[in-house]
């Protein structure tokens, strides 16, 4: 059987195995606080980058302003649980859909304005969103608490189990996000988004409703980024303007997606899995004296120069090249064998 076929048959099995592995990871393999903390951050980052990828990866419009929705999700959860006197525990997690909804509703006008422009200008406007809303969060003290921010209710969970609720909630949201991303990638809607990425004018000419498609994808991605922000806030315990509306978040998200493979389903997950632990480890190892930033930036630079398309697409290309090479080698050796036989026959005839 050819290796591509084996690979395809094994794929569902691998997915199930991976989900099972992630599900038992914190309880059996690494019941360790430091590792679990990194694991929770990784899952939250993965939700955000999978959500981001639904818009930016599929349409090719690189948004560097999704931290706005991260911030909206974060503040929604914080303010709602503060105003409605929700105690710490499982209850705030019930507000996650609300956080996503608020982010999605705000994404409509923001997306509408930003998507009037294309490529470069779009990128810059999304950057402007971050600074506008960061300033608003500072200045609207009555609502957001200004630079002090909003504090979340304390959780009642005790020592060895503090991280687990966050881990499993984030994992559940991540599964939903990944499933949706996969489904969109294989739907007609996703095909339209990819057409926009490849050639927007041609897609428009062929009848793809490009404006509506872009806006819908923008809103969907905002919902997931908002939920990621909400979980993050509850986990960290508070949110303030620089944490909620954080330009570094945008760049990190983009880096994860680029590293793994922009516009693929698996790529963003892989990117989050590599980048978040690396960042946490560098912070722990070198502290905040700039050395961590230098190493992080340098690694980032080397990655983009070496693998401009990201890990998943690069390896898919290698794999495809390898299988075709293998196929041609097989067929050419078969042809060579035939030629040998003919040669033998000719020789025999000559002898006879």
């Amino acid at each position: 059987m050819n290796p591509a076929k084996i690979f395809r048959r094994l794929r569902p099995l691998a997915v199930v195995a991976l989900i099972a592995f992630v599900a038992i990871f914190p309880v059996s393999i690494a019941p360790n606080d430091a590792v679990n903390t990194i694991a929770v951050f990784t899952l939250i980052g993965a939700i955000a980058v999978v959500g981001w990828n639904i818009f930016s990866g599929y349409t090719g419009y690189i948004s560097l302003g999704h931290s706005v929705f991260y911030g909206f999700g974060a503040y929604t959860l914080g303010l709602a649980s503060l105003d409605w006197h929700i105690p710490g525990g499982w209850e705030p997690f019930l507000l996650l859909p609300l956080a996503g909804l608020v982010a999605g509703v705000f994404a409509l006008p923001l997306g509408w304005i930003a998507l009037r422009t294309r490529r470069h200008t779009f990128v810059v406007i999304t950057i402007a969103w971050v600074f506008i809303f960061q300033l608003l969060a500072y200045n609207l003290r009555g609502i957001t608490g200004g630079s002090n921010g909003v504090f979340m209710p304390l959780t009642p969970w005790v020592a060895p189990y503090t991280d687990l609720p966050f881990y499993y909630v984030a994992f559940a949201v991540l599964l939903v996000a990944t499933f949706l991303s996969w489904w969109i990638r294989h739907s007609k809607f996703g095909l339209g988004l990819l057409a926009i990425r490849d050639d927007e004018d041609r897609a428009l000419g062929l009848g793809v409703k490009t404006n509506a498609f872009k806006l819908i994808a923008y809103v969907i991605s905002a919902v997931f980024v908002g939920m990621a922000g909400a979980i993050f806030t509850y986990y960290v315990g508070s949110v303030y303007p620089e944490l909620g509306f954080n330009p570094a978040f945008d760049i990190t998200t983009a880096l994860m997606a680029f590293l793994g493979g922009l516009g693929t389903v698996v790529g963003p997950l892989l990117g989050a899995l590599l980048v978040t632990p690396l960042q946490q480890w560098l912070d722990l190892q070198f502290g905040g004296q700039g050395v961590n930033l230098m190493i992080y930036g340098a690694l980032f630079l080397v990655t983009i120069l070496m693998l401009p398309r990201g890990i998943v697409p690069s390896f898919q290309e290698r794999w495809r090249a390898w299988t075709t090479a293998r196929k041609t080698r097989l067929s050419s050796s078969a042809r060579a064998m035939n030629q040998d036989q003919t040669a033998v026959l000719v020789e025999r005839k000559g002898k006879g």
Binding site: I113, R116, T121, A128, A254, L255, G290, G297, L301, I304
Partner: protein, 285 residues
């Protein structure tokens, strides 16, 4: 008034950014940290060797020019696929590395530049207003450099090559312009302008490596407002930003200055997505 004088400085930094965008088709997110690097270079020369800030520019501008050419040669030129998108990430990576290095060397404490003309104010005739001398010196410097830039871009052979590369890169290389060389020189020019802008920024503000975020967001907004790739746009955009924030500060409340400017930008973009002087982004093949 102070605002209009410091508007010239933003125009310097923004014109470097917009030229680089026009010629190389990349968004140089590192411009903010390069400005801060220029400020730290002046700071270091002043502290260590007691070199006057304006004399120090004779050292920092060529040094930053060389750095810019090197960055283009070592990194930007290697990007073959999807330049514009990757360039944002690559220049951001460069910015992170420089920020890390500056934090390591100078820590995150706020510093500011010192010279006798920064602390001394004079009475300006006609408007009866005390003003630090540095603002006047800085304004003269900006005018001289912007004038020089104008002459360079519109009156020399290099400028003609540069404008040709902005208009159509392929056609420019077909008629024998060495486009990669023009690109390297332009990137160097953009960085050199950042060095000059950085000295003035450092003389009029306290700064640390993290100041670059505020700076780059302002610069990007200025060039979007003016239209990306347009020198006039950079100039007018800077003036509009400064005037709006000054008016809001005087008439209303300082904390809303930036917000009002950003809202102005958004309203403008709803009606004119390409900015004031920009060309509409058409189909690119």
């Amino acid at each position: 008034m102070l605002g209009i004088l410091s508007g010239g400085v933003y125009a310097l930094m923004a014109s470097g950014l917009t030229l680089v965008f026009g010629v190389l088709e990349i968004i140089n997110v590192a411009q903010g940290i390069l400005v801060i690097l220029g400020a730290y270079l002046s700071f270091w020369l002043e502290q260590r060797f007691h070199i006057d800030l304006f004399l120090g520019l004779l050292i920092t501008i060529p040094a930053m020019f060389v750095l810019g050419v090197f960055i283009d040669w070592a990194i930007i030129r290697r990007l073959k696929w999807d330049r514009t998108t990757l360039s944002i990430l690559v220049t951001f990576a460069i910015a992170i590395v420089i920020e890390g290095a500056l934090e390591f060397l100078f820590t995150t404490n706020l510093v500011s530049l010192h010279a006798w003309y920064i602390d001394k104010s004079i009475m300006v005739p006609f408007i009866n207003f005390y003003m630090p001398l540095i603002y006047i010196y800085a304004f003269i410097l900006s005018v001289v450099l912007l004038g020089g830039l104008y002459l360079l871009v519109y009156r020399t052979t290099f400028g003609r090559c540069l404008r040709a590369s902005i208009q159509n890169r392929t056609a420019a290389s077909l008629i024998g312009i060495n486009v990669p060389q023009v690109q390297a020189l332009t990137f160097g020019l953009g960085t050199a302008l950042a060095a000059a802008g950085g000295m003035v920024y450092g003389a009029t503000n306290a700064f640390n490596p993290a100041s670059s975020y505020d700076l780059i967001s302002r610069l990007l907004v200025i060039i979007v407002l003016g239209g990306m790739g347009s020198l006039w746009g950079a100039l007018v955009g800077s003036l509009i930003m400064i005037i709006i924030s000054d008016v809001v500060i005087l008439a209303f409340d300082p904390i809303w200055a930036s917000t009002v400017f950003f809202v102005f930008l958004v309203i403008l973009l709803v009606f004119r997505p390409q900015g004031l002087f920009g060309r509409l982004e058409g189909r690119k093949q």
